[in-house]
Symmetry: C2
Subunit: 419 residues, 2 copies
C-alpha cells in the first residue's frame, strides 16, 4: 500500500512555520508497512487544493491531509474536497454536537463561526476529534482513500492513532506487513566512525535496513525490517541489536529512544543514588535536562549555576587559591566544584562542568571548546579535560552537557551499579 | 516570480528526519517578494526524481532542490537532473579542486568516493560550497531555473544566501518588489485575545498583511508588506508597528525577534544590574535560557536549582518553619528563596520559582499548573501565584519560566530602568 501526505496552509507554504506533522505521519505509516511516496505543501488556495487532490486521487491508494479545517475563511480544505467529489457541504449533526460539547466542557458557548466546522462534504465519514474543535473526515476520491485531519499537532496525532491507523489496518486485513524498528542511541563516536563499525551488518543480517541519524549531539543507529511474521521479525531484530551493541560497546546508552539524561536518571533511581550539580559553562542545561523527567527530585537534590568565581567560593566552597592559581576552567577547580556540590546537598555524587562555550573567552592554551568535567562520589574524585567545538555557543553547550552526563554514566556503570 | 521547493532523501520521505530546510528557503524567497507555490518531498528514487523535475520544469519559473548531492550511491539528484536535460555527467575541474581543498584544509586527503561530487550535468553552472564537500549547481530545464543545493542545513543556508539569492536578484533586475516584515513578540495574552486586538488593523493599514504565530509560549504578531518603494514601505511598517504596540501595551517584549531571556539580559546589562536565580519547578530552565547568550556572566551571577527542601534551607537559607507551615509551593517560600539567592550572590535582583509542573504532585488546593514567583530587589519583595497548565510537564515548565521572566521584566521596567 502506498501513501501521499499533504500539509496545507499559508504559514507552512511561506516558511513561517516548519511542517513537523508530515514527518510524524510518514513515520507512523512506514511503521505500519505502508510506503510513503511523496509529501506536498500548498497554501490556502482553493483551485490549487482541488488540483492537488485530483492529482493524488488519480495516482495513490491513501492520502493523509492536515490543516485547513478551522472556522475561518482561510480554511478551504473541506470546500476543496467537496468540489473534487462534486457534492455540497452538509451539516453533520453529530459533529456539531461534538464541537458544542468541546466548548461546553470548558464552560463556554460555541461561537457561531465554529458551526462551519461541522459542515462536511456530503457522504464523507466523520472522524471525531476528542481534544479540539475541528472534526476530521474520510472519503474516497477517484479510488484513493483520503483522510483529512486538523493541523494542530496534538489533535492530529491522536486522531491519526485512533481513527486513521485503525481504519488502514482494517482495509489491509490479514496480509499486512509490519515494519519493525529499533533505535540505538550512541554518544562519543563521530557519525563516520559509527558508520564504519556498522558497515558489516548486511552480511549476517541481509534483510535488515540500516539508517544513521545525527540527532545532535547523539548519533542514532536505526534498524528497520519489513516482515509479515512478527515473532520471527522481532527475534531477528533482537539478534541484530546485539550485533550492533558488540560493535559500539560503551558508546551505546539507550535502546529505547531515551535521552542520556533519562538513562542517567534511571540508573540513579534504580540504585537509590542521589546527585548534585555544579554548572559553570553548561549554565543550567544539565539541571534542566535531568528535571524534565517527572520524579527527578527523587535523585537530583541540588544544582548550582555558578557563573562567577564569587559564587563558586561562597556556595561551593571552592578555594580562592585554586581559582587564583589555576583559573575557573581547570580540572582542579571542577574537582572542588563537584566535591562542594555533593557536600552542600549531601548527595551520593557531585558532577561539575567548567569550560569555554564561546564565541569569546578562548586563549591559545584554553581555546573555545575546552571543557573540564569533575565527578565526585564514593569511589573518589575523577576529572577530565576535553576539547569539543562545534562553532556555535548553543551547540557547544549541548555537547558539553552530554559529555559531562556521559562521564557520570560511565562512572556509575563502573562503580555501584556495575552490571 | 513563482517558485517551488523540493527536499529529497529517504530519511525525510519516511519521517525519520523533519525537513526544516524547505521552511527556511520559503521564508527567504518570500522575503525577496518571490511567491512560493508548492513544496515537495520525495525519496532517493531516480524515476521519481526525473518525473518531479519534469513536472516542475513545465510549470514553474524557479525551483530550489536540497539533498542527494553526496558521495554515496543513494545520492541520485545530479543523475536525475542530467537525465531530464538529456546530457551526461562531466567532471568540473574547479569543483574537484574545491572538494580536494576542503579535505586538505582539514589535513586529510580526499577519499576516492568524493570524486563523484565534482561530476555535474554537462552545461550546468557550478555553485561553490565554501563549507562542505558537495558543490551545488544551477541549470535551466524546460524554462525553469533550478538551483541544486546540499541537504546539510548550514551549508544550504550559506549557499542560498551567497549563490541563489544573488542570482535571483540579478534575474529580476530593477523591478523587484521587496517583502518587508516585522515580528512583534508578546507574552501573557492568549492567541485569540491578540487576534481580537489586531482585528482593526486593516482599516488604517490596508496594504499590510497580518499573521499570528503561536511560537509556544510566545505569541508573535507578524506584519508583512510587499512594496517596490523600500523607504516608503519601511515608514508604513513603522507606523503599523506603533499601532500594534498601542493595542498590546506591556505584553510586547520584543520588536527584533529576541527571546524574553535576551530582552531581560539587555535590560540588566544596560543598567549595570545583576541577577541571582532560585529555581524549583523550572529546574534550571531559567538559568539555561539566560546563559544561552554570550556575555551573560556579566549579569547572571548565580543560579540555584533547589529541588529538595533541604537544599532550599542550606543554600538559600529559607526558614524550615516557612517550609513546614506553608510548604514548598507558596508565595512566602518563593519570597524567601528570592531573597536568599540575591543575598548569597550579592546581586541586585533575586528571582525564584516554585510550582507543580506535573504530571503528579497536584492537590485540590494546588493543582498541576500552580506557580509561585518571587522577585526581590531594591524596590522590595513581590510575589505572585498563577495557574498555567498546558497538560504536559515540559510545556508547563516553559510557561512557568516565561511567566517568571516576565514578572522580572515588568519589575525592571517599573523600577530602575523606567523609560
Amino acid at each position: 500500500m502506498r501513501a501521499e501526505i499533504v500539509a496545507t496552509g499559508d504559514e507552512i507554504r511561506t516558511g513561517a512555520l516548519v511542517d513537523s506533522n508530515s514527518a510524524y505521519i510518514a513515520d507512523q505509516l512506514e511503521q505500519e508497512g505502508i510506503e510513503v511516496t511523496r509529501h506536498h505543501v500548498i497554501g490556502d488556495d482553493l483551485p490549487m487544493l482541488v488540483s492537488l487532490f485530483r492529482e493524488i486521487g488519480g495516482r495513490g491508494e491513501v492520502a493523509v491531509i492536515t490543516g485547513g479545517l478551522g472556522p475561518t475563511e482561510d480554511d478551504l480544505t473541506t470546500a476543496a474536497a467537496a468540489r473534487v467529489l462534486g457534492v455540497d457541504l452538509a451539516l453533520d449533526e453529530q459533529a456539531l454536537e461534538e464541537v458544542k460539547a468541546y466548548f461546553g466542557q470548558r464552560g463556554r458557548t460555541m461561537p457561531p463561526s465554529n458551526r462551519k466546522q461541522a459542515l462536511l462534504p456530503r457522504g464523507a465519514e466523520r472522524l471525531s476529534n476528542p481534544i479540539g474543535t475541528a472534526p476530521g473526515f474520510c472519503m474516497i476520491m477517484e479510488g484513493c482513500t483520503f483522510f483529512f485531519l486538523p493541523g494542530v499537532p496534538h489533535e492530529m496525532r491522536r486522531m491519526l492513532q485512533e481513527q486513521v491507523l485503525t481504519r488502514l489496518r482494517a482495509m489491509r486485513g490479514e496480509t499486512r506487513a509490519f515494519r519493525l524498528t529499533r533505535v540505538i542511541s550512541t554518544f562519543g563516536l563521530p557519525e563516520s566512525k559509527v558508520g564504519e563499525r556498522m558497515a558489516g551488518i548486511h552480511s549476517p543480517f541481509p534483510s535488515i535496513k540500516l539508517g544513521l541519524r545525527a540527532k545532535f549531539p547523539e548519533i542514532q543507529v536505526k534498524l528497520y525490517l519489513n516482515t509479515t511474521d512478527e515473532t520471527e521479525g522481532r527475534r531477528l531484530l533482537e539478534r541484530a541489536t546485539e550485533w550492533v551493541s558488540e560493535q559500539l560497546g560503551i558508546h551505546v546508552f539507550s535502546y529505547e529512544e531515551r535521552t542520556l539524561a533519562e538513562e542517567v536518571g534511571i540508573l540513579l533511581k534504580r540504585h537509590g543514588l542521589t546527585l548534585a550539580l555544579a554548572e559553570s559553562c553548561t549554565g543550567g542545561l544539565l539541571s534542566n535536562w535531568l528535571t524534565n523527567t517527572a520524579g527527578s527530585s527523587d535523585y537530583l537534590l541540588f544544582g548550582a549555576v555558578t557563573c562567577s568565581n564569587e559564587s563558586k567560593i561562597r556556595v561551593l566552597d571552592v578555594s580562592p587559591e585554586t581559582l587564583g592559581h589555576y583559573g575557573a576552567v581547570h580540572e582542579e577547580t571542577v574537582r572542588e566544584m563537584a566535591q562542594g556540590a555533593r557536600r552542600v546537598a549531601g548527595a551520593t555524587y557531585g558532577l561539575a562542568t567548567s569550560g569555554i562555550a564561546g564565541p569569546h573567552g578562548g586563549t591559545p592554551e584554553k581555546p573555545v571548546g575546552t571543557l573540564c568535567i569533575g565527578v565526585d562520589g564514593p569511589q573518589g574524585t575523577r576529572s577530565r579535560t576535553v576539547t569539543l567545538s562545534f562553532g556555535q555557543r548553543v551547540m557547544n553547550r549541548k555537547l558539553f552537557a552530554m559529555a559531562a552526563l556521559d562521564l557520570l554514566r560511565r562512572t556509575l556503570l563502573e562503580g555501584p551499579v556495575r552490571t
